[in-house]
C-alpha cells in the first residue's frame, strides 16, 4: 500500500496532435494497396481468417531467404516435410539453394500443395473463444436447470452406476488424445493453417474431457451415493475399457503427424467415439430418465462431427486428390487403414458388454456398430478411399 502522505510526482501527459495520418488523406504509390499481397486466397477474395493465418509460419521455399536459423541436433530446423509420409505436390522439389550472390528468391507462392489447405471452420482466436465460450455457457445452464428441476432424482440405480463409471471413463481418451496426440501434433505440420486447426481440435478435446469431469463432480454433489472416483477405477481396470485404452495409448504413440490425425479423426472417432457417444449414451439416456447427459455428451459430439471432422476431411481430401501424389497418399492411407481399423474394431467390440447394463436397453450393439461402420464408410468415400477388408471382420 502506498503511503497517502507520500508526494505523488505529477506526470505530464502527451497532448493529442492532429497528424492526418488517415487512409485516403493523400495519393501516392501504394496508397490504395490495402490487402496482404504475399499469398493467393483460396477463393476469389481474401478472407479474414486467411489474413490472420496464412504465411505466419514461414517456408524456406517461399520468402525465407536466409533459411531456418536454429535446428535440432540433427541440423533440421523449422517444420520438415518429412515429418509425415504423405506428400503434397511440389514436396519433392529441392529447397532453393542460397549462398553468396544467390539472391533470396524461392519458388512462386504457394510452392507446394500443403499451403493450399484452408480450415473450413476458419478458426482463429475470435471464433475459437466465441464457440467454446458458448458451449460451456450453454452446458453450465443446462446442468443448472436440471439441478433446479431435480432431474437427477429420476435416475434409476443402474443408470447412476452407468454414468459414474462409463460416461465418466470417456473423459480419459478425450484428455489423452487432446494432449498427447493433438496438442503434440501442433508442432509438426508444415503450415500455420494445419497447426492452428490442430490446436483448436486439441482444445475441443481437452475442454470436452473437462466438461465430463465437472459434470461428474456436479453429479457427486447432487446424487446420494454417486461415486465421483469410480471413473478412474473403470478406466484403469475394467476389462470392458481396456480395448479403448490400449488403442488410445497406441494412437498417442504414432510418430507421423498425418497418420496420428488420420487414425484419430478418420478411424477411431467414427468407429469407437461415435459408437460410444451417439450409438450408446445418446440412445440409452432418455429411456433411463436422463435428459441431461445427452446435452453434455452432445457438445463433444458436435465438436467432432461438425468441426473437427470437417477440417480433417478438407485436409485429407486435398491429399487424396493431389495432382502429383494422390496415388502415393492413398496407398499410405490404405496401410494406415489396415493397421488401425482392426485395433479400433477390437476396442469397439470390447465395449459391447456396456450395451446390456442400463435397465432400459439401447438399440442392439450390432446395430450400433453397423451404423458406426456406415458412417465410417461414408467418410472414406468422401476421401476417395477404399473400404479396407478388415472392416468386415
Amino acid at each position: 500500500m502506498t503511503d497517502v502522505q507520500e508526494t505523488v510526482q505529477e506526470r505530464s501527459f502527451p497532448k493529442p496532435v492532429f497528424t492526418d495520418a488517415e487512409a485516403g488523406a493523400k495519393e501516392f504509390p501504394d496508397s490504395t494497396a490495402r490487402r496482404y499481397n504475399y499469398y493467393e486466397p483460396a477463393k476469389r477474395k481474401q478472407s479474414h481468417y486467411e489474413d490472420v493465418t496464412v504465411e505466419v509460419q514461414p517456408d524456406p521455399r517461399h520468402y525465407l531467404s536466409q533459411g531456418w536459423l536454429y535446428g535440432f541436433a540433427d541440423g533440421k530446423g523449422g517444420y520438415p516435410l518429412e515429418w509425415t509420409a504423405l506428400k503434397a505436390w511440389g514436396s519433392d522439389r529441392p529447397l532453393p539453394e542460397r549462398g553468396p550472390g544467390s539472391g533470396g528468391k524461392g519458388y512462386d507462392w504457394p510452392a507446394h500443395g500443403w499451403h493450399e489447405f484452408r480450415d473450413p471452420n476458419e478458426e482463429w482466436e475470435l471464433t475459437l473463444y466465441r464457440y467454446n465460450a458458448n458451449v460451456v455457457r450453454q452446458m453450465t445452464q443446462n446442468i443448472q436447470v436440471a439441478r433446479q428441476a431435480k432431474a437427477f432424482e429420476q435416475w434409476n440405480p443402474n443408470w447412476i452406476r452407468f454414468v459414474e463409471q462409463h460416461v465418466g471413463a470417456w473423459m480419459h481418451p478425450e484428455h489423452g488424445l487432446g494432449l498427447y496426440l493433438f496438442a503434440n501434433a501442433n508442432r509438426r505440420a508444415p503450415t500455420n493453417m494445419h497447426n492452428n486447426a490442430i490446436s483448436v481440435n486439441s482444445m475441443h478435446k481437452i475442454r470436452f474431457a473437462q466438461d465430463l469431469a465437472l459434470y461428474n463432480l456436479t453429479l457427486s454433489e447432487e446424487i446420494d451415493g454417486f461415486d465421483g472416483a469410480a471413473h478412474v477405477e473403470t478406466w484403469n481396470s475394467d476389462p470392458t475399457w481396456q480395448g479403448v485404452r490400449r488403442t488410445a495409448e497406441a494412437l498417442t504413440g504414432i510418430d507421423d503427424w498425418c497418420e496420428a490425425i488420420f487414425a484419430a479423426n478418420v478411424i477411431f472417432e467414427p468407429l469407437v467415439g461415435e459408437l460410444f457417444r451417439s450409438n450408446l449414451v445418446q440412445q440409452a439416456a432418455a429411456g433411463n430418465g436422463d435428459f441431461v447427459t445427452p446435452t453434455v455428451v452432445g457438445a463433444g459430439e458436435y465438436d467432432y462431427a461438425q468441426r473437427d471432422l470437417r477440417y480433417t476431411r478438407a485436409m485429407f481430401q486435398l491429399l487424396t486428390s493431389d495432382r502429383e501424389f494422390a496415388e502415393h497418399n492413398k496407398s499410405i492411407m490404405a496401410q494406415w487403414l489396415s493397421n488401425w481399423v482392426p485395433q479400433c474394431l477390437d476396442a469397439a467390440r470390447t465395449l459391447q458388454p456396456l450395451w446390456s447394463l442400463p435397465d432400459s436397453k439401447p438399440p442392439r450393439f450390432e446395430d450400433g456398430l453397423d451404423r458406426a461402420k456406415n458412417r465410417f464408410q461414408g467418410i472414406l468415400s468422401d476421401l476417395d478411399l477404399q473400404v479396407p477388408e478388415e472392416l468386415a471382420q
Partner: protein, 551 residues
C-alpha cells in the same frame, strides 16, 4: 463460479491425468536435462469452463476498442514516425507468438509430470490467440493508416529482410534443440518472464503517447495471459533445479538465453521506443530507465536473484554487461543509427531526428549529441533524393559494420568485436558472449559433458552474403520492397509522401554494388585480417572510422 467451486473444479480436473499402461506416447524431442518423476501441482489452476468465457470477454473489449478507434478517426492523430516502426514490429511478433504455441509439446515428454501439461495446453491456445489477434491488428493498420506499404507485404518482408531474420531467433529458439533449453529457459524463463514487460507494457505506453491507443488495448490483453505462462516456466525451473546434475546446463542456458534476448529485444524495442516516438517530454522514461525498472529490478533482483538459494547460477556479470551496453556503450543508439543507415534494405520509413529530439536525447543520455548528433543532421540533409546517393554511400564518417554471426545484429559496439574461424569460416561476433554461444554453447559437448540434444545454429546468417556484388535496385526488387507503381521504394529515409520526394529503383540503380563484409573477410590474407580487426576495434562510436577523433 464461486471461489470454492473454482477450487473444487480445479481439484476435479486433476483426475484427468493418467499414466499409460500399454504404449508410451511418441517421444519426438530430447533433452540433456534429467527430471525425477514427482507429484507436482498444476501451477495454472485454470479450468476451461471459466477460461473460455474469460478470454471471450477480453476479446469483446479489444474488438470494441478497435471499432471505436475507427469510428473516432484515431488515425488522424497517430504519429507516422511511430506507425512506421510498427511495420517492422508487427511483421515479426506473430511468429514468436505462434512458435510459443508450437513449443509447448516439447515439454510433454521431457518433463514427466502430467499435472503440468494442462497448463502447457492452455498456453498453447493463448499463443494462438496472441498470434492471430496481432495479425488482425496489423490488418486494421493496413486498412486505416495513411501508408499501407510495408503492412501489405508484411510477412514476405519479414521473411526476406535481415531485421526479420534477427527477430526470428525470438521464435526459432523456442521450438528447436534441447527441449528444455528452448521451450523452458529461452522461451519462458527469459523471453516471457524478463522481456515481455518491455514488449507488451513499455511499448504500448509509447504507442499511446503517439496517438495509438489500439496497440495498448491489444497488447495489454496479450500481457494479461503472460503471468500464467510465467508460472508454467517457474514450475519447470524448480523441478530442473531439484536435480543437481542440471545446474551446469541451467547456467549455460541462462547465459545464452539472457544474452541473446538482450541483443535482439533491446535492439528492436529500444529503437522503437527511443527513435520511433514524437513524445519528448522530459519526464517520460527513456528505454534505459524502463529497462532498469522492468528488467533489472523486477526481473533480475526480484525474480532471478531469489532463485540463487536453490542453486541457480545467475549470470550476474551478463546482467551488468547488458546494462553497460545500454548505458555506457550506446547499444540502442548504435542500432537505431544502423537501421537508419541501411534504410534502403528495409520496408518502412524512418523519420529523421530533429533539434527537439536532440535535446531530449542529450537530457536522457548526456553526451549523446557529440556522438550521434552530426550523423543525424547528415541523415536529415540527405533524406530526399537530390543528385546524391543514400546516406550509406555518402561520406558521413560511418563505416559499414560486419555482422555478428550469432545474434545477426551487426557488430556495432566496435571495440567489442571478436573473430574466430569456426566450421571452416571466418566469423565476426558482436561480443565475446556471442562467440561463446556459437563456439561453446551450441555444441554436442559442453565442458566435457555430452550434450547430444543441444541445438545447432544453422542457416545463411549474413544477409549481405546472399546479395554479394548485386546492384541495389535488384536487391530491393528481389526482396519485393517496391510499391505498386513498380519503382517507388517502400522504404524511405523521411516521412514525406510526395511521390517526387520519394526514392525509386532508378536512384538505386546508380549506387555502388552491395558487397558482403563476410565474403571479403574470408578472402583476406591472415595479415590483412589481423589488420582489419585491429582497425575495426578502434572505430566508433557512431560508426566513425578509426582515424576520427573520439568525442
Amino acid at each position: 463460479m464461486s471461489r470454492q467451486s473454482v477450487a473444487a473444479a480445479h481439484k476435479k480436473i486433476q483426475e484427468l491425468s493418467w499414466e499409460p499402461m500399454y504404449h508410451e506416447p511418441v517421444k519426438h524431442y530430447g533433452t540433456d536435462y534429467t527430471f525425477q518423476k514427482a507429484q507436482k501441482r498444476d501451477p495454472l489452476k485454470q479450468v476451461l469452463r471459466s477460461y473460455f468465457p474469460m478470454q471471450e470477454e477480453k476479446d469483446h473489449r479489444v474488438y470494441g476498442a478497435s471499432d471505436g478507434a475507427i469510428r473516432g478517426n484515431m488515425f488522424r492523430q497517430v504519429q507516422e514516425r511511430w506507425m512506421e516502426w510498427q511495420k517492422l514490429f508487427l511483421s515479426i511478433i506473430p511468429l514468436p507468438e505462434i512458435s510459443a504455441a508450437r513449443a509447448m509439446p516439447l515439454l510433454f515428454r521431457t518433463v514427466p509430470n502430467p499435472e503440468l501439461h494442462n497448463g502447457q495446453a492452455i498456453q498453447m491456445i493463448d499463443e494462438v490467440r496472441h498470434s492471430t489477434i496481432q495479425q488482425n491488428l496489423k490488418r486494421l493498420y493496413m486498412n486505416n493508416y495513411i501508408d499501407p506499404a510495408g503492412f501489405n507485404n508484411s510477412l514476405r518482408n519479414f521473411q526476406s529482410d535481415y531485421c526479420g531474420t534477427i527477430g526470428r531467433q525470438f521464435a526459432e529458439g523456442f521450438i528447436t534443440g534441447d527441449a528444455i533449453t528452448a521451450a523452458s529457459i529461452y522461451l519462458t524463463i527469459v523471453a516471457e518472464t524478463a522481456f515481455t514487460n518491455t514488449l507488451f507494457v513499455a511499448m504500448p505506453a509509447e504507442a499511446a503517447a503517439n496517438g495509438d491507443y489500439l496497440l495498448p488495448t491489444v497488447f495489454h490483453s496479450v500481457q494479461s495471459d503472460e503471468s500464467r505462462h510465467i508460472s508454467n516456466g517457474y514450475a519447470t525451473l524448480l523441478m530442473a533445479l531439484s536435480d543437481e546434475s542440471n545446474h551446469q546446463l541451467l547456467e549455460r542456458d541462462l547465459r545464452y538465453a539472457w544474452w541473446n534476448n538482450h541483443r535482439v529485444v533491446d535492439a528492436a524495442i529500444g529503437t522503437f521506443i527511443e527513435y520511433g516516438t514524437k513524445d519528448r517530454r522530459k519526464d517520460r522514461e527513456s528505454y534505459a530507465e524502463m529497462w532498469r525498472r522492468w528488467i533489472y529490478d523486477d526481473y533480475y533482483r526480484s525474480y532471478l536473484v531469489p532463485l540463487e538459494k536453490y542453486g541457480l547460477v545467475i549470470p550476474h556479470d551478463l546482467i551488468e554487461e547488458a546494462w553497460n551496453q545500454i548505458w555506457n556503450k550506446g547499444y540502442v543508439h548504435e542500432v537505431a543509427q544502423f537501421f537508419a543507415t541501411g534504410w534502403l534494405a528495409n520496408y518502412w520509413r524512418i523519420d529523421a531526428m530533429t533539434d527537439k529530439d536532440f535535446e531530449w536525447f542529450e537530457h536522457k543520455y548526456p553526451g549523446w549529441y557529440n556522438k550521434y548528433g552530426k550523423w543525424w543532421e547528415n541523415y536529415n540533409r540527405l533524406a530526399t533524393p537530390n543528385g546524391h546517393n543514400p546516406i550509406v554511400f555518402e561520406d558521413v564518417d560511418y563505416v559499414y559494420p560486419h555482422r555478428c554471426w550469432t545474434c545477426m545484429v551487426p557488430c556495432l559496439v566496435r571495440e567489442d568485436m571478436v573473430m574466430a574461424e569456426v566450421d571452416g569460416q571466418w566469423r565476426t561476433y558482436c561480443h565475446e558472449m556471442c562467440k561463446w554461444t556459437d563456439e561453446t554453447a551450441f555444441r554436442p559437448t559442453y565442458m566435457g559433458r555430452e550434450t547430444p540434444n543441444m541445438g545447432k545454429l544453422i542457416g545463411k546468417r549474413e544477409w549481405e552474403t546472399l546479395y554479394h556484388e548485386w546492384n541495389w535496385a535488384d536487391v530491393v526488387s528481389d526482396m519485393g520492397f517496391v510499391r505498386d507503381d513498380g519503382k517507388t521504394m517502400v522504404a524511405q529515409p523521411h516521412l514525406n509522401l510526395d511521390p517526387k520526394k520519394m526514392w525509386t529503383l532508378d536512384h538505386m540503380r546508380r549506387c555502388p554494388p552491395l558487397l558482403s563484409p563476410n565474403v571479403l573477410l574470408n578472402q583476406m590474407s591472415a595479415e590483412d585480417r589481423d589488420a582489419f580487426h585491429a582497425d575495426y576495434i578502434k572505430q566508433g562510436p557512431a560508426g566513425r572510422s578509426s582515424g576520427s577523433p573520439k568525442p
